[in-house]
Symmetry: C2
Subunit: 204 residues, 2 copies
């Protein structure tokens, strides 16, 4: 498609580099920005520039943070004996939204994926081991909250081997039938796992 | 949702102001930019800033342009006797892609819509009348290529009244069954119109 202006072409090109945004959507966004006052674009670009240049990562859990230590790691109300290992910030947000977890987190920054060329050294794994080493007497349990994919399982397997030396309890979030899910519509792998990892009824 | 950083919150807020982008998508885009090198964000923000501050509109047709007069209006190969009236730049791109039209364009910048508070004075209508007045001997036909909506029809009706004084031919793009469309699946309004505006077969 031949755009009426080099500026449009350039902006559409840059926007459509973003994941899930094609040229048509990019053009729609560009024309929207042109209809809005100049301030709208200025605010958007400022927010993005500030984000990219000023962002910090918590030195303990490697989550995105405004300060050297993130709010969760700095909080006195969190249970410092449990560390939940997740892939990225979105997982932290999802778990925090449940309000069911009061421990700390550790962000790996991805999962081991030979296909994408991501090995253990690309992730914050050494930092996790160092962190547990430094807080040996405090950390009692490490929870894996990784995606139920081949890559997630590989990462969990690798971490399990590395964590063995510390003698901490290792667990993974439960996999089974979602609340509200119907048995007959559940795929066989999930259903099979949910039988294997059945929970004992507490009988008083 | 409580974001781990004010910078993230700010960026997500600005991105989700764009049409069709919600907070979840915005967060995905933000985390993508954080994973990419700083240059990616810099290129994106530069392209947007340059677009918004340097963009020009063709003084004749009001299309987006790099120069004072756009490529189409400046071209010697275009038929200057026909002006196609469209809503915005996307319509120009769509018509240009068909390679079936060699005339000029006039961009209204929208359609008359009392609900959204857009009256004739908000659009480039006076500019169109002035343009035809200035090129009285050149312009022979005005084609309306507006959306087949209430607003589009209102705008066409308004323009028809205003254009009557110039004695130019006025036409509108054909509405009917799309090529490849099945009769039985066509809505009754389109089908009805396609019967009323039937085209005579050329019998040799």
């Amino acid at each position: 498609m031949e755009y009426p202006s080099r500026l449009i072409e350039n902006a559409v090109g840059e926007i459509s580099k973003l994941p899930g945004i094609g040229k048509k959507t990019a053009l729609r966004l560009v024309l929207h920005l042109l209809k809005e006052p100049e301030g709208t674009t200025a605010e958007l670009t400022e927010a993005l520039t500030e984000l990219r240049t000023k962002i910090k990562y918590c030195k303990d859990c490697h989550n995105i943070s405004d300060d050297e230590v993130c709010n969760i790691c700095a909080s006195h109300r969190r249970d410092r004996s449990i560390i939940c290992v997740v892939e990225d910030t979105r997982d932290v947000l999802a778990i925090e939204n449940t309000a069911q977890y009061t421990g700390l987190y550790h962000i790996l920054g991805g999962v081991i994926s030979p296909i994408e060329g991501i090995g253990p050294s690309e992730l914050n794994i050494d930092q996790l081991l160092q962190r547990i080493e430094n807080n040996k007497n405090e950390v009692k349990e490490v929870i894996f909250a990784l995606s139920p994919t081949m890559e997630g399982d590989t990462t969990a397997f690798y971490l399990t081997k590395k964590l063995r030396q510390f003698g901490v309890k290792i667990s993974t979030i439960a996999r089974g039938i979602p609340i509200g899910g119907e048995l007959e519509y559940t795929d066989e792998i999930t259903l099979g796992r949910s039988i294997l990892s059945r929970t004992a009824y507490q009988q008083d």
